[in-house]
């Protein structure tokens, strides 16, 4: 068993290629798998000490989030849109948020990951680094199944790009779990909209835990575009939501409960976006 601690992302990519090792960032998922005997990595490549992979920076018209930025920092950063901050804040406990990273939440690719629906609604892009170079993948194209993504074995998620213009939009995140702390989402929902002359444009709605991957609800986005938030009723969004999602019964919830809750959470998030745009409620970044 070996434990490698590269100092740069280039070195990490070389080590990943030469050893085929397992990437360790915050360890809040990996250490649980190790404790449960679900994995026993021959080589761990600890990327948490790579300085360039941490922090949130404004670069021209985009915000670059280092993949090893702690969930706690995402949750409290004034530089990020509300939906992403709130999604981060709903993950685990303070202890977990201090250790866990946004890159880990993304690469773990659980359908219930609470930063995933927000990143979908922010048109985020993921920068993947390998020994051969880098490529950028749209968040929309990244997830392929539960815990499955297009990331190749030799690739490291280096950073996440969020268009800075999303900070000018209204956004909100809602989730429901069994309790307030330490709860895994039974359903989560993120909404991000621009509002021009009282009407919604550039609408993004995404949900988690209701399909094998976090989903954007494009049919619903179409229904909402051009409308005033105050004119949208619960009944109106119900059909396009239910047509878009594929919830299942599992240990955390049932399909029928998830259907009802998804509709309600999206409606609530939309209302919060309306309040935000009119200067009330939970405030944009």
């Amino acid at each position: 068993m070996s434990y490698l601690k590269p100092n740069s992302v280039a070195e990490a990519a070389e080590l990943l290629e030469s050893t085929g090792g397992t990437i360790l960032a915050g360890g809040t998922d990996l250490c649980v798998y190790m404790a449960e005997g679900l994995c026993d990595p021959e080589t761990l490549i600890d990327i948490s000490g790579i300085e360039s992979m941490r922090g949130i920076r404004l670069e021209g018209d985009l915000i670059r989030i280092g993949a090893c930025t702690a969930i706690a920092e995402i949750a409290s950063s004034e530089a990020l849109p509300t939906c992403l901050r709130r999604g981060a804040r709903s993950i685990g406990s303070p202890q977990i948020r201090n250790l866990g990273t946004i890159g880990g939440n993304v690469c773990n690719a659980s359908p219930c990951g609470d930063t995933l629906a927000p990143l979908l609604t922010l048109d985020a892009r993921f920068v993947l680094r390998s020994a051969g170079g880098t490529r950028t993948v749209e968040c929309f194209d990244f997830f392929t199944g539960p815990k499955q993504t297009v990331r190749e074995p030799g690739e490291i998620l280096e950073s996440i790009e969020v268009p800075a213009a999303t900070c000018k939009k209204a956004s909100a995140f809602r989730m429901i779990g069994n309790r307030k702390g330490q709860a895994i989402s039974q359903v989560n929902a993120s909404v991000c909209v621009a509002i021009a002359e009282g009407r919604m444009t550039d609408v993004r709605v995404a949900v988690g835990s209701v399909a094998p991957i976090p989903l954007r609800l494009e049919a619903l986005e179409g229904v909402l575009t051009g409308k005033a938030i105050g004119d949208v009723g619960l009944a109106e969004i119900r059909e396009p939501v239910l047509e878009g999602i594929r919830p299942i019964d599992d240990v955390r919830s049932t399909a029928s409960y998830r259907q009802e809750v998804t509709v309600a959470l999206i409606f609530d998030a939309l209302t919060a976006c309306g309040d935000q745009a009119s200067g009330e409620g939970d405030g944009a970044c």
Partner: protein, 164 residues
């Protein structure tokens, strides 16, 4: 691998497997058994320690990660003369202990909060303790103890300010 870090204010150098959990390193190698193992999965918070000043689960922290960093455990918060920390005093005085197994973790989470925010609202205390489970269901008094500790610490620092 030789791992060097600061533990409770003292420099430590120890030869250890970097994949060892810090929880085991503390308990089995350094004899600091105040840090408890509850679930071993990051759910219960009994193993909470401070890493560079913030609360983390030591069951999810591998030894290789603490090189060059600073750790504080429940053993490290007492005064030089061994006197209990005001948070510990408050937990005792309020009766915020039943079986006591979760208490070190509760106290470390309270310390992380009060170091950052000396006079928190009750909701902030609840949020800060949301990753610590008490199976004796004693949350009411634990929250009360954290608020009492906050009052005492604020008062202490005010008095310190006047005399200094």
């Amino acid at each position: 691998m030789l791992i060097r870090f600061t533990c409770n204010g003292r420099p430590v150098q120890i030869e250890a497997d970097p994949q060892t959990r810090v929880l085991d390193l503390l308990r089995d190698e350094l004899g600091l058994t105040g840090t408890k193992e509850g679930c071993g999965r990051g759910e219960c918070g009994a193993c909470t320690i401070l890493l560079d000043g913030v609360a983390v689960n030591s069951c999810l922290l591998l030894a290789g990660k603490i090189e060059g960093r600073e750790i504080v455990t429940i053993e490290g918060i007492a005064g030089e003369d061994g006197a209990l920390h005001p948070i510990q005093e408050a937990f005792l005085d309020v009766g915020a202990v039943q079986c006591g197994f979760c208490t070190p973790g509760m106290i470390m989470s309270t310390k992380a909060l009060l170091d950052e925010k000396p006079a928190p609202e009750v909701e902030e205390v609840e949020e800060a303790l949301s990753g610590n489970l008490c199976r004796c269901t004693g949350y009411g008094k634990i929250v009360e103890a954290a608020l009492e500790a906050s009052r005492r610490l604020v008062q202490e620092s005010d008095q310190g300010g006047e005399s200094g």
